[in-house]
């Protein structure tokens, strides 16, 4: 297999973006990506594209990407793999290039949740991600990950404080990222006393009521769009943060 490198990247800010449709956000992210490439880019350099997208805002995602970027003559493939969707899109493009099938490929991730009213958004999102008969009516909502965390806290030496430290780290990282959505520092104490969304109740070491909350950073906000470009060359390891975070409900 050939080595593969990321040669450019761009993204829009993480925000609700009421004023911008997915057809606006995709060119914005792509344009920034193209501008980041040392020697520039011509659209005709692109031989294939992978589009990570959970939902189908405004239509079939592959067609939307092809249409908005004018990529009418190359294969565009939509990838969905829950919270690992973006990673999986990168992996697929990497295989395309490593195998020798392509030399240059585009990877894009985009979703837009705030196209529907906030009151209906939860069930719309849940409808996409739950079994309609078995899980959907239970109101799993933000609790899916919390169920895992609760068991993890039970089985491991980890404590609520450790979970809070993840949130503190995430918020700290956001401070140096102008495109992050929640750019404020958080202390462990603040994370532990924040408003409760979903309780993993009682830690394993002490039977206090936990005040930490777990929520998908997906919830009321738009995923940003990001579009790294992949080109053959040397190996470079990039870490992309998946939007699972522990945070307060403050904004």
């Amino acid at each position: 297999m050939r080595n593969v490198a990321i040669v450019g990247a761009g993204m829009t800010p993480f925000a609700e973006h009421f004023a911008l449709g997915i057809r606006d956000l995709l060119p914005m992210a792509f344009s920034e990506c193209a501008a980041s490439i040392d020697k520039g880019l011509d659209l005709s350099d692109l031989q294939a594209a992978w589009f990570g997208s959970m939902g189908t805002t405004d239509g079939f995602p592959s067609g939307i990407l092809a249409d908005t970027l004018g990529l009418r003559d190359i294969p565009v493939t939509r990838v969905e793999n829950s919270c690992a969707t973006g990673h999986d899109a990168i992996r697929n493009a990497m295989f395309g290039i490593a195998s020798g099938a392509y030399d240059v490929a585009l990877v894009v991730g985009a979703d837009k949740l705030r196209e529907t009213a906030s009151k209906g958004m939860l069930w719309e999102w849940e409808a996409m991600s739950r079994d309609m008969a078995w899980d959907y009516p239970l109101g799993l909502a933000q609790a899916g990950f919390a169920l895992h965390v609760r068991r993890y806290l039970h089985e491991s030496p980890a404590t609520r404080e450790h979970m809070a430290m993840v949130a503190v780290k995430n918020h700290h990282n956001a401070m140096s990222n102008p495109k992050a959505c929640r750019r404020f520092e958080l202390t462990v104490e603040e994370a532990l006393t924040a408003d409760t969304v979903v309780t993993p109740s009682g830690s394993t070491t002490a039977h206090r009521r936990a005040m930490v909350l777990l929520r998908w950073s997906l919830s009321p906000r738009t995923w940003s769009t990001g579009s790294p470009i992949v080109r053959s060359g040397y190996v470079e390891v990039a870490s992309v943060s998946i939007p699972l975070c522990i945070s307060t409900s403050a904004t």
Binding site: A133, L138, L147
Partner: protein, 400 residues
């Protein structure tokens, strides 16, 4: 002349000792299933089911399939959904063939009681019937209630006049009127019944069976009544009546509801309401929910059979949702329950306790509840009720 083999009762754990209220996840059908299962605990067989209530969740479409599935009975059984109060339940009992499960259910002053008839047991026979019209309270087909507002008229020209007409001069227990009014009408020791509607006459019968009291039992609804004579014999009584506690405070968003897919509802129904897994003949593993599988070599396997799942288990993990969720009352607790001895874990909501009070390792039972109301459709499934107690009974074994 019918004989009663067993009686089961159920009271929601919410409200006060004077008047229970159903939980958010309960309706007349889940109450009926609890009482019916209690009556069937001693193992009698059922050929007919009569459900008596004025609070049926659906008046168009049927409640019968959910009732049979929840009771674990054959879907081929005849179910009569009968509108009525305390007299209607006694009427149903008086004319019942053997192996009939008669269930009375009430929501306002909530409770349910069920009696199973058989070839032997506690003997009852119809003693009196009077239908008279004094509609002091009415509810029409769209649910509008009108209350005339004259309890003294109801008493004097209603049930007292009917009791005189029917020549039932010395009932041992009277069901269907408030405790204060019932006590002076009965010659026996006053029995405090928890309900005043369709279930009340079976609660009365349960009390008589437990105390081995014989004599007339009268059920009253407005100016109509029905009386049976309770004779010799014994019936087992199993009560699922936990101590009442105040319904916890909860919040609900004014807007938003949960849509339903009836295609998914129909596919899942049997497993979801009967609490069953799928099992292939060549495997010991249970699939929950049941579904097609493939062999190691890719051969499609579709011929699974339904296998009953255990109704007891242990909490594997739990969370409590506090954030508002449209269409649901919060807070609520979700658990993954490890079912006993089958290697199956199920995601269910917690019922019968305040949210946030279960912990990993807690034991409990799986009970039929109304999980949600979606697009006007009551959506039934199982919930986890912590604790192992909850049933008190005088089994046939004890009585014999």
């Amino acid at each position: 002349m019918p004989y009663i083999a067993s009686i089961g009762t159920y009271l929601p754990c919410w409200g006060t000792s004077d008047s229970r209220v159903p939980g958010d996840d309960e309706d007349a059908i889940t109450l009926a299933v609890e009482a019916g299962r209690a009556a069937l605990e001693s193992g009698g067989s059922v050929e007919y089911v009569v459900l008596v209530s004025r609070d049926l969740p659906l008046t168009e479409s049927s409640n019968a399939a959910v009732l049979l599935a929840g009771l674990g009975l054959d879907p081929e059984l005849e179910v009569i959904e009968r509108l009525g109060g305390a007299p209607a339940t006694l009427d149903a009992l008086g004319s019942a063939r053997p192996r009939t499960l008669v269930i009375g259910v009430d929501i306002d002053g909530a409770g349910a009681a069920a009696a199973l008839t058989a070839e032997r047991g506690l003997q009852v026979r119809t003693a009196a019937r009077v239908s008279r019209s004094l509609p002091v309270r009415t509810r029409n087909s769209s649910g509008d209630v009108h209350d005339y507002g004259d309890p003294r008229l109801l008493k004097k020209r209603g049930y007292l006049a009917s009791l005189a007409t029917a020549w039932v001069d010395s009932p041992v227990v009277v069901a269907g009127v408030g405790r204060k009014d019932a006590a002076p009408l009965a010659v026996g020791d006053s029995v405090a019944l928890p309900t005043t509607g369709a279930s009340s006459s079976l609660f009365a019968l349960a009390a008589m069976a437990e105390a081995s009291t014989t004599g007339p039992l009268v059920g009253i609804e407005q100016a109509s009544l029905s009386g049976i004579t309770v004779a010799d014999g014994s019936a087992s009584v199993l009560r699922r009546e936990r101590a009442p506690q105040p319904l916890p405070e909860s919040g609900q968003l004014a807007t938003g509801e949960i849509p339903i897919s009836l295609a998914a509802y129909e596919r899942a129904f049997e497993a979801k309401v009967r609490w069953e897994a799928g099992k292939f003949s060549d495997s010991d593993e249970l699939d929950f929910p049941p579904r097609y599988r493939v062999d190691q070599d890719g051969t499609l396997k579709t011929e699974y059979t339904f296998v009953e799942l255990p109704r007891t288990g242990t909490v594997y993990t739990e969370v409590t949702v506090h954030a508002p969720v449209p269409g649901l009352k919060t807070p609520y607790t979700l658990v993954i329950v490890e079912l006993d001895d089958v290697g199956v874990r199920a995601l269910v909501r917690v019922t019968g306790v305040e949210a946030g009070t279960v912990d990993i390792g807690d034991r409990g039972r799986l009970v039929l509840r109304r999980v949600a109301v979606r697009s006007g459709v009551p959506d039934y499934g199982y919930a986890f009720e912590p604790g192992t107690a909850g049933a008190v009974g005088t089994g046939t074994e004890d009585a014999a």
